[in-house]
Subunit: 358 residues, 2 copies
DNA sequence: GCATTGTGCCCAATCGTTTGTGCCAATCGA
DNA sequence: TCGATTGGCACAAACGATTGGGCACAATGC
């Protein structure tokens, strides 16, 4: 373990930490030599220094606990090995999971990730983006794109910073998403197969392609089957528990025949829906089928296991970072779509499938 | 809106972005003058420039879309306005919520936060810490401290970087925590009051003070009441759903009288517990009481609302950042403890309290 | 009208690294 | 033994911003 930073070293920085000059002086070489000796990659055909010197310099660096000042290095090299990540909220497990995939893959390529919340707020998005750019990130993963026109994307293009969208698509821009339309279709077909004809949708935010596409796919299937959705039963919502709760309350207040099934475009909204139904005395799985989206880890462990459409969140994050790294390297970036699958459980099947687990 | 970065500007950086020199040249002043004109704070008694010049410089900066290179600025000023945050995992809603508090309060003081996962792994913690230090963060919030000896804390002290612990305490180091011992006592007293005498604990990770202290408080109350815990019914666990599931399986396998109540030191572990109990055909709320910890937002909306001890997560994060900022400013840092409260619901009360909501 | 004060800016050094270039000495072939 | 080569390192110039010091000029006081 590097140890005991001595206080009498030469060329310490103002915080008292050893610099490259410290190491160089102690090893009796020039800072430039120290820099080369400590740079990880063997610089191909370049002058690399004798093995003895390199070893000596590395030993000294180790001993004084030298840590390269990445700010200074980045200033010189114009690369930070930093990827910016913009997400709506990290308290949303879906985004947190995607982020983990991004970070994991980034690390494989030597990138660190700088993630920040935007709360889906336009002003905040712009401000956070500027912050990331000011910190000279090498590229950006955008997890909060708007489906139609997106000012943040415009800026990104103007600045010529490599970027990729994840989770949500926007127009033609390179993105890594799950096939949300197909996922919506899966949910719809499942409910149709179970005999439901009049269903409601907790539809999420209209500016998010995830919500829009899932609803679209869902709606298509019911229309094609001759049972088009009742527009009054399609209510927008936030993506969290509270959003689902409110949307479900509105659904229950809607006049006309009550639906027999509810599709929530997000598992947390589905849980809020379950809460509201329970408070209203509706027996989920019997009187009402509920299906969510994303298949978060706790869906199968709920007191009433939740049916859901599984999207490969972690993989989505990994893939997005892979695309970004390629883009930073100068490659052309293209979009990727991953496939969702259905996890049917008791919230739609009723109490007849106790053996479901994962 | 700053617009249309023209391509024919002088002194662009290598990525084609305008620099301070660009702005200065266009405004017909020296870069130093531009720097002063663009620095936010009015430097007390220092020469500040004529209002006309300042306005002109600012206009130019706006027009060419100048964004200060924070790397270069940080190199010169030795301040990054960056606070590092180390957490076990952001997919843990508890930590994600604390992080949001940290970030929110940081922003108030002009800090950005650089958060990263450590997965509670020692090697990863050390590596991530070095990374943050290499990026010259001004201070660090540590969300994954070990209760006993913590090597990361040692390093932090050696480097003389201001830091504060959050959520988990460790020895005498300044920390902002919830009174976990008191929280454990609340849970215990609640179960005792309901008549439970033989109870099990899904105890969390032994290196986390949160788990240790909650268990300690819980255990104390039962011992004081003359019903000491059966050590076989206290099983360590991870803090997630899967961890709770496994721990509960072990509890169910334990020979001897079955317990009538289970305390999980974390809500996700509690949900895993619910899942396992359900699969085993145990009726929670009737045959078995379950109480969790943290009172996450979905606890009240579960198909069977979960009793829990609420800890003020967001506030904990805010407070921690407040302490850190003071510490960076040179103030002495001291520990703060926040108070938990009980949220009793049907997972312990049975089906007789349908009116509970939040 | 002259000395004094103050205002508005520029100059140049500096933060800690990286990297193209060039010098010196050792090594090699003949 | 001599010239050509090359290995090993030092030099110095960046990167883009900040900041103490100082210069020129205008305003002020007497």
């Amino acid at each position: 373990m590097s140890r005991a930073v001595r206080d009498d070293l030469p060329h310490l920085d103002k915080a008292g930490r050893p610099t490259l000059a410290t190491v160089a002086a102690l090893a009796g070489v020039h800072p430039s030599t120290a820099s080369r000796a400590l740079s990880a990659s063997v610089p191909a055909g370049v002058r690399v220094g004798s093995t003895g010197t390199v070893a000596r310099i590395r030993a000294v660096a180790q001993e004084v606990g030298f840590a390269r000042n990445l700010q200074a290095a980045g200033l010189r090299t114009q690369r930070t090995s930093l990827a910016g990540v913009l997400v709506p909220r990290l308290t949303d497990l879906v985004l947190a999971t995607i982020y983990e995939g991004i970070d994991e893959q980034g690390r494989r390529h030597g990138y660190q990730t700088f993630v920040t919340n935007t709360n889906d707020d336009e002003a905040e998005r712009a401000a956070k983006l500027e912050m990331l750019l000011a910190r000279q990130v090498d590229g950006i993963v955008l997890g909060d794109a708007r489906v139609d026109h997106d000012e943040v994307i415009d800026r990104l293009e103007a600045r010529k910073v490599p970027f990729v969208l994840v989770s949500r698509r926007s127009q033609h821009h390179p993105s890594v998403t799950c096939d949300d339309r197909a996922g919506g279709r899966l949910a719809a077909q499942h409910l149709l197969d179970l005999g439901h004809r009049r269903v409601a949708v907790v539809a999420g935010e209209p500016f998010a392609s995830t919500a829009v596409d899932r609803l679209q796919g869902f709606s298509d299937v019911f229309r094609e089957a001759g049972h088009p959705l009742d527009p009054d039963l399609v209510v927008p919502s936030r993506f969290d528990v509270e959003g689902g709760r409110r949307a479900c309350q509105q659904i229950l207040r809607t006049p006309g025949d009550a639906p027999t099934g509810i599709f929530a475009v997000n598992d947390f909204a589905a849980i809020g829906t379950l809460g509201t139904l329970r408070a209203a005395g509706v027996a989920v799985g019997q009187d009402m089928a509920v299906i969510g989206y994303n298949d978060i880890p706790l869906a199968s462990d709920l007191p009433l296991p939740l049916s859901s459409v599984r999207s490969p969140l972690h993989e989505m994050g990994r893939t997005a970072m892979e695309v970004l790294v390629a883009g930073i390297g100068g490659a052309e970036m293209s979009s990727t779509t991953l496939e969702p699958t259905l996890s049917a459980r008791e919230s739609t099947l009723g109490a007849r499938a106790p053996g479901d687990s994962h």
